[in-house]
């Protein structure tokens, strides 16, 4: 084992927090404090109602100055919450902030042993003893400052990503907006109207799309995916794959020396293209060619060649003529950009609701999803805004809306969570058909109507007054009449307490949402955690909803969890603000948990070099010996090398072997045996 580096006499101060009754409710704080006084090296011990308050912090600073403390222990909540607070207090007392150690007696003690006060108190004493043992061996550390690249990246070009990119760019930061599909706009551009204001979705979104396109601070990278990520806050090197689009922009044409060339969005290529494919933007309900745009308002207005479908007949190249915008030999390109911070806004997909066999989606023609409904009711959609039954093109007069379709579903097939906007858009759908189809009756099958937002409950009442029928009951199954293709919706009306069998012309499933297909890959590239259902994990659910545990990576919109447009935009603005802070400060401090080589012990075997996932370690010649050397800028402080070195020659700052062993010994050998 490594030896202790310093040999000063440790003088430790221990401060035990009551946290109101959060801790004191199940732990005898005074007893813990008295116990701390009996521990070796403890010079002073005290307790206080709220250690994180200003008077609490002052106690620490004063004790450091008065007692010439060499280390501070606070027994309170989790270091993940208040370690920074108490480090500052330690610093205020004139001590190096890394001379501070925290004993978690709240999250991992008083809150989880609420009915066992004796055992909880004993555990708290152990925790303090363990912390004192470590604090006695802590050393001065200096955080490393690194400059922050004055550029940001936003991944995902839906409304959240667009808002984040606009805010960052408008704050003077060069912003790369990366979008996997050929246009920005995301899910919102597929919607017809928005609740509860009934604004036309495209009408309010298109100006924003244009703003993004025109903004000089934004480099818009559509049809592009994140391929690899290296580095850390301030210095992310992101490798992007610009997928072969087959079409060049005017700027790219100029770079190739084609004067006045490049795609103008005229669409001449589409007219001659012989290949027809379903348009994913219209959910396959309308055709597109192998050279295509999703819809007329795309941004950028540049066509894309679908190389999976293209037969390379060259007719489009001919039709394009002198503009020479089409290049059928184009290949994917990789590019690397350096950014200081990143905002993830990867959005959502619709849960494959055909997995809920009982509702017959994809088996029955006249069972559609809400997103398909949006396209069918949209004036620019495949039917010009006429809602029709897919089976026969007739106008439906009885429409059932099945809410919580796959949401709030504990059968193991669907999703346990609430998808959060289905109630409201289904109310809006009911309104839209009442408005468009005389004599139509919407039947809304619901579990609870969750109209939680501003003006939402009022909207709910309005739809009730407009004549929508509300049936409180989950739909058990849907059966198709094979002759009429009408559907029988079987449910229990839980308010009347009787089963119902309702014949309708069309069923709209308000399908659950799930993280978009790329979310998992993207989050792993950026080292962001996710919750059990795949939504990206925020740094703190209440106090840091935009941040992640990876410094410099922030979250915007539905990728963090289901939310509607206003909440998405609000979070995007929050994420943009958070992402701009390190950039505007110009430098960030990295926690100095670097590995260091104790050269006198290092045998130069090099086994550690391959352990490091960041390539931070290397063997060098020094004074005629081969020893390992750490590149601090690359080291992230995981300690994997330190856990492996057969000679114990690696000193992991702040998690050094003697410090950890002291903790183990303090627990097992110290205290009342």
């Amino acid at each position: 084992m490594a030896e202790v580096k310093k040999n000063e006499e440790p003088r430790i101060g221990v401060f035990v927090c009551h946290c109101g009754t959060n801790i004191a409710g199940s732990i005898d704080v005074k007893a813990v404090m008295e116990y701390a006084r009996t521990l070796p090296n403890v010079i002073v011990a005290d307790d206080y109602q709220y250690m994180c308050s200003t008077p609490g912090q002052n106690k620490i600073a004063e004790a450091i100055a008065e007692q010439k403390l060499t280390g501070v222990v606070v027994a309170a909540c989790s270091p993940r919450l208040h370690e920074p607070t108490f480090r500052n207090a330690t610093k205020a007392g004139g001590l190096n902030p890394f001379r501070f150690e925290m004993a978690n007696i709240r999250e991992q003690n008083s809150w989880v042993h609420m009915h066992q006060p004796e055992e909880a108190t004993a555990k708290a004493k152990d925790a303090v003893r363990i912390a004192v043992a470590k604090a006695s061996l802590l050393e001065d550390l200096v955080p490393k400052s690194v400059p922050v690249e004055k550029a940001a990246m936003v991944v995902g070009g839906g409304v959240g990503g667009m808002q984040a990119a606009l805010d960052l760019a408008n704050a003077g930061i060069k912003t790369y907006l990366v979008e996997k599909s050929p246009t920005i706009g995301g899910r919102m551009s597929q919607l017809d109207k928005t609740f509860p204001t009934l604004d036309c979705s495209q009408c309010i979104l298109t100006p924003k799309m244009v703003d993004v396109y025109r903004n000089e601070g934004i480099e818009l990278l559509t049809y592009t995916e994140v391929e690899a990520v290296e580095g850390y806050i301030g210095n992310f090197d992101v490798t992007l794959r610009k997928k072969a689009r087959g079409v060049i922009t005017p700027a790219e044409a100029e770079a190739r020396g084609i004067v006045g060339g490049g795609c103008t969005g005229c669409g001449d290529c589409v007219d001659v293209c012989p290949v027809i494919k379903p348009n994913p933007f219209e959910l396959g309900m309308a055709p597109r060619k192998a050279v295509y745009i999703y819809h007329p308002q795309v941004s950028p207005l540049i066509y894309t060649v679908d190389f999976d479908a293209c037969v390379k007949c060259g007719l489009c190249v001919e039709a394009c003529g002198e503009k020479k915008a089409i290049d059928l030999e184009m290949k994917d390109e990789l590019m690397t950009v350096k950014v200081g911070t990143v905002v993830l806004a990867t959005g959502y997909d619709i849960f494959p609701i055909e997995k809920k066999f009982e509702w017959g989606y994809k088996n029955y023609d006249n069972v559609i999803t809400s997103l398909e409904f949006e396209r069918l009711i949209c004036a620019s959609g495949p039917t010009g805004g006429h809602l029709i039954r897919p089976s026969d093109g007739a106008t439906p007069k009885r429409v059932a809306f099945v809410l919580c379709a796959g949401s709030r579903d504990n059968t193991g097939v669907g999703k346990p969570y609430c998808s959060r906007f289905c109630c409201m858009y289904s109310l809006k759908h009911a309104h839209q058909i009442i408005e468009k189809i005389p004599g139509v009756v919407p039947y809304i099958f619901y579990m609870d109507i969750r109209s939680f937002g501003k003006m939402y409950e009022e909207f709910y009442y309005r739809i009730q007054d407009e004549g929508a029928k509300f049936i409180r009951g989950r739909v058990a199954n849907i059966l198709e009449d094979p002759v009429t293709k009408n559907l029988h919706v079987n449910a229990e009306d839980t308010l009347l307490g009787r089963p119902i069998d309702m014949e309708v012309d069309l069923v709209v499933l308000a399908a659950a949402i799930e993280p978009s297909a790329e979310t998992e890959k993207t989050r792993r590239l950026f080292g962001v955690s996710c919750s059990q259902d795949g939504w990206l994990l925020e740094a703190h659910p209440k106090l840091n909803p935009c941040g992640t545990t990876t410094a410099g990576v922030y979250l915007a919109g539905v990728c963090q969890g289901p939310k509607d447009i206003p909440d998405t935009v609000a979070q995007a603005e929050g994420a943009a603000s958070a992402a701009s802070i390190p950039i505007h400060r110009g430098e960030v401090e990295l926690e100095p948990y670097f590995a260091q080589c104790m050269e006198e012990k290092c045998a130069g075997c090099g086994l550690c070099v391959n352990q490091c996932p960041y390539g931070a370690l290397a063997l060098v010649e020094k004074d005629g010996r081969t020893v390992m050397q750490v590149t601090e800028a690359k080291c992230k402080g995981c300690g994997t090398c330190g856990g492996f070195c057969p000679g114990g020659a690696i000193w992991m700052q702040h998690f050094a072997t003697p410090q950890i062993v002291a903790q183990i010994d303090a627990f097992l050998l110290g205290g009342e045996q």
């Binding site: 066999f357 009982e358 017959g360 088996n363 193991g412 199954n477 059966l479 198709e480 009449d481 094979p482 002759v483 029988h488």
Partner: protein, 300 residues
């Protein structure tokens, strides 16, 4: 599972040999034509019926079903059968005993008295699923075995509850709107017809017929209405008990509701037999309560 994928111990059940012997004959002969040998499972008892036995004493149900499985284990062969009720009993007990050591020990305690032990060495299959499995028979091989396509026949398919449900424990995927038996019917040259509430019970299973005949017929009647509405020449199923309910049930329905449907009811193996060229006599179709003649006229 047995080493030979084309040899099975054939579990007859009760209703097929007693009421519709044509099913037994058809199963053995049609299977041979598609490369499956069905060997008699000698000494087999009642499966025993899942509704009747299972609702009174589960342990008896486990033990009797396990005994039938052990007979197959002694032959070193998987079991094949033609009845959903038998499938529910034998497949499910075999499955449960394989996955629940405690249950298995309890059953073996009982079997010890007759010097038997459940080992869990074989699997249980419905003949229909073997027909559908492309690695065993497959739809194409069925189609290739046909000598007399049932062209023009509109046929409703009834799956039956005990085959498909509970869906989570079975291995058939979509149990709400399955289509695989339709594929097998289409392979005979017939036209499978969709009707409302296809997955509804026949009315008989689970002890319903034994407990409350009027209620059972009510369900059957609804089924018959749904089939009649789409116009079918026959209904096919893979369960003699469902067949009994549809076939004899139509007579009872006529007495109770006065409604007459006259829809012939044929087990899939009987249909397959016809298509492979077996004569109505060989299939003992005259034992059916509802006259099969109009259907035969249409296809022969």
């Amino acid at each position: 599972m047995s080493k030979n994928k084309h040899q099975y111990a054939f579990f007859l059940g009760c209703i097929a040999p007693n009421r519709y012997p044509g099913i037994e004959a058809a199963a053995i002969r049609t299977s041979k034509n598609v490369g499956i040998d069905l060997l008699p499972l000698k000494g087999a008892s009642c499966c025993p019926a899942p509704g009747a036995f299972g609702s009174i004493d589960l342990n008896v149900w486990y033990a009797m079903a396990a005994r039938n499985v052990v007979l197959a284990e002694q032959m070193g062969m998987d079991i094949a059968l033609v009845c959903n009720g038998c499938y529910k009993s034998i497949w499910e007990v075999n499955h449960k005993l394989k996955h629940n050591d405690e249950l298995r020990d309890g059953v073996n305690e009982v079997l010890k008295e007759i010097d038997m032990e459940f080992k869990g060495s074989v699997d249980v299959w419905h003949l229909a699923e073997l027909y559908y499995d492309p690695e065993i028979v497959g739809v194409k091989k069925i189609a290739d075995s046909i000598k007399r396509p049932l062209t023009g026949a509109r046929i409703a398919v009834h799956y039956g509850c005990h085959l498909m449900k509970p869906g989570k424990e079975r291995h058939f995927g979509d149990t709400e709107n399955p289509m695989w038996i339709e594929e097998l019917v289409a392979a005979l040259g017939a036209e499978p017809v969709q009707y409302r509430n296809k997955m509804q019970c026949c009315g008989a299973g689970g002890g319903v017929r034994g407990y409350d005949l009027a209620h059972a017929l009510d369900i059957t009647n609804e089924k018959m209405i749904n089939m009649r509405d789409v116009g079918v020449d026959a209904v096919t199923e893979v369960c003699p008990f469902c067949q009994l309910q549809f076939d004899r049930g139509q007579i009872e329905i006529k007495e109770k509701f006065g409604a007459e449907y006259g829809i012939p009811v044929l087990h899939y193996n009987e249909l397959l037999g016809l298509a492979q060229g077996m004569s109505p006599d060989e299939l003992a179709l005259d034992l059916h309560a509802i006259d099969v003649e109009p259907f035969l006229k249409k296809i022969l």
